[in-house]
Amino acid sequence: MKYLDEYRDEKIARALAQEIRERVTRPWVLMEICGGQTHTIMRYGIDELLPREVELVHGPGCPVCVTPLEMIDKALELAARTDLTLVSYGDMLRVPGSSSDLFHAKANGSDVRVVYSPLEALKIARANPNRKVVFLAIGFETTAPPNAMAVWQAHREGLQNFSVLVSHVLVPPAMQVLLAAPDNRVQGFIAPGHVCTVMGYRQYEEMVQQFRVPIVVGGFEPVDLLEAILMLVRQLEEGHAIMENQYVRSVTREGNLPAQQIVEAVFEVCDQKWRGIGTIPQSGLRLRPEFSAHDAEKIFGMAEIKVEEPTECISAQVLKGLKKPPDCPVFANGCTPESPLGAPMVSAEGACAAYYRYRRHKVLQERACNV
């Protein structure tokens, strides 16, 4: 298949891995930000192809994972109303709040529906004028434009029964927090290709300057990631720190301007809590006041909730790249995708879930050898 097969080609992948091995002279710690990239690394066992010196750690780029518990609890509170239809992206349904998840709410009679696009939620609102329809608008910069577009259209049409429960997060502020932390280990970043397709990579250039850290925008196929790793290794070995773009077939420096405009028109930047990490200043999006008629939190007068996360979970350290999932004593041993204790195990794209799903055999093998 065009644009897929050549990026999954064994010969090209092995040649890139060989070149990485030839270039490397010392240990380097690299982080991919996006959960989709983590997923590819685990699914294709890319870490198996790399020399021992190159260590990949996995960033906080799974939007489902970092959605705060409180937001799930709010969604559950809304879903319990008999006059309301709650609409969501599929993988949010399995994410546990503090007591339940949306799948169980659905089984208990709540009207919870899954869509591929928020515009589908608009259709549901138009078709059911007597019901309140709330879309759970979560995600990074990738889902922000369609979510913004849904609000924009609802506003233009005067669709009064449509609102959104917003929990949007932004990548660059989270990277800045990681880089500024005194215990930071990350020496080079693979920036998220889809986020940059929307936003461009200008914001990342500032970080390259400020922290003197190489950043390469990477795609999502094995060859993309190996090439991005090679580009980072080259820079690090040569002592450079520049912004590079591996994912040229999708990403430009400026990004998708109409998409940025609609996000800018509908949302404004705010402080945001990340599950497993805590509040990061200016790292989220909320609706602008002129769209408050579509803001579920305002319409339904939702109170602020505070929820504690399980203490045995080391997800904060995993999300910051300080530890890897197998370092956690409860990994696959009390914490599984069926009963996750922390953020990175809840969605398929979380680092712990990706290790569990694809690499558990290696982890268990190593544990058995160490006993």
Binding site: L4, C34, M42, E48, Y89, G139, T143, P337, R360
Partner: protein
């Protein structure tokens, strides 16, 4: 937990309190949740040696004659889809469950649960399709039932079929017979049925529309049985897909498996749809494919026999049974690395990005 709840629990109720109190849609996915339902409710209630083999069909002895017996319910939405409809599917599903036990399908039952308001024209089309599929598979519908439920109580129409077939004396195929060294054969490309249905539900359009692979596999099985006595077990990977079937066999036999990613056939359109929707074809339903575990020496002759049959033209050897390891089913990826092929936990969910 409050002290009141604790005191209620201590009233020694003989039934343990389940962690999940209600049926979720995921309990019907054919994955781990479905297995959980089976082990929590049905196996303890109906415990007997035939049932506990957990094959697609029961093999029972009646007056010295070996019979295969099975039942299946069909709730597919939409009722009509490219490559089939609920009527033909109800025939193929039950015929295939019999065939996977090596049986020659003989008789079917047909029970229709109809929703108030269903147009006669729809019912007529489904019944005719049922009739034609049964005739083509040379099975007779010898008993049946109809029920009508209020509007909203079912989705147009549900169908249940049961089937009886005869098994040649001495033939014993079962999921607990896989042994290290055995080869794994797959009769053709995976994911067609699930993607055909999903594409219709989601309004996806392809240059070459994906058609369901719904088909009766008993003649393919008959050819295979004629060719070799080295077949250990067969499954048709319906809900839960190829990975769930293989994980079940591996667990029942106490073995591991290694699959070769590049040898698993998947159509371009199916791959494309899976890429777009964030789904893994290994977990997508098939209705006209079989996977067989066979003795090492039987693999090549069986592969040749399968490829001579119209429903096995694209058959492949996709892997090998190994000794039990960490994680029962392992895949060697196209890059030569390894990963786990897990049992599906519940339904596959479309990923957000």
């Amino acid at each position: 937990m409050s002290s009141q709840a604790t005191s209620l629990n201590s009233l020694s109720c003989p039934v343990p309190l389940p962690a999940v109190e209600r049926v979720l849609l995921g309990h019907g996915s054919g994955g781990r949740l479905s297995a959980d339902l089976l082990h929590r409710f049905f196996l303890p209630a109906f415990q007997n040696p035939v049932l506990s083999r957990l094959d697609d069909q029961a093999i029972v002895k009646v007056n010295g004659e070996c019979l295969a017996f099975t039942t299946d319910s069909f709730v597919v939405k939409p009722l009509f889809f490219p490559g089939g409809d609920i009527g033909s599917l109800a025939v193929h599903g039950t015929v295939n469950d019999l065939a996977m036990g090596g049986a020659r399908p003989l008789y079917l039952s047909a029970a229709f649960i109809l929703e108030e308001g269903l147009p006669f024209e729809t019912l007529r089309r489904v019944v005719e399709s049922f009739r034609d599929a049964a005739a083509a598979a040379q099975v007779e519908v010898v008993t049946g039932d109809t029920k009508v439920v209020e509007k909203g109580s079912c989705d147009g129409m549900f169908i249940n079929t049961s089937g009886i077939g005869s098994v040649q004396p001495g033939l014993h195929l079962s999921a607990d017979l896989a042994r290290p060294g055995d080869r794994i054969l797959l009769s053709g490309p995976i994911g067609d049925h699930g993607i055909a249905i999903l594409a219709m539900r989601e309004g996806l359009e392809f240059e070459n529309p994906v058609r369901s692979d719904s088909a009766p596999l008993h003649t393919l099985v008959a050819e295979m049985l004629k060719t070799s006595e080295g077949i250990r077990c067969m499954r048709d990977p319906t809900r839960g897909g190829l990975s769930s079937s293989l994980n079940e066999i591996a667990a029942r036999s106490g073995v591991g498996m290694t699959l070769e990613e590049r040898s698993i056939p998947i159509r371009e359109e199916v791959r494309g749809a899976c890429e777009m929707l964030g789904l893994d074809p290994l977990y997508i339903a098939n209705e006209g494919k079989l996977v067989a575990i066979v003795e090492p020496g039987a693999a090549e002759p069986l592969l040749a026999a399968m490829r001579r049959h119209p429903l096995g033209r694209e058959a492949q050897i996709i892997g090998t049974v190994t000794a039990k390891e960490f994680g029962p089913v392992i895949m060697r990826t196209t890059l030569g690395t390894t990963r786990i092929v897990d049992m599906l936990a519940a339904d596959q969910l479309p990923r957000i990005c």
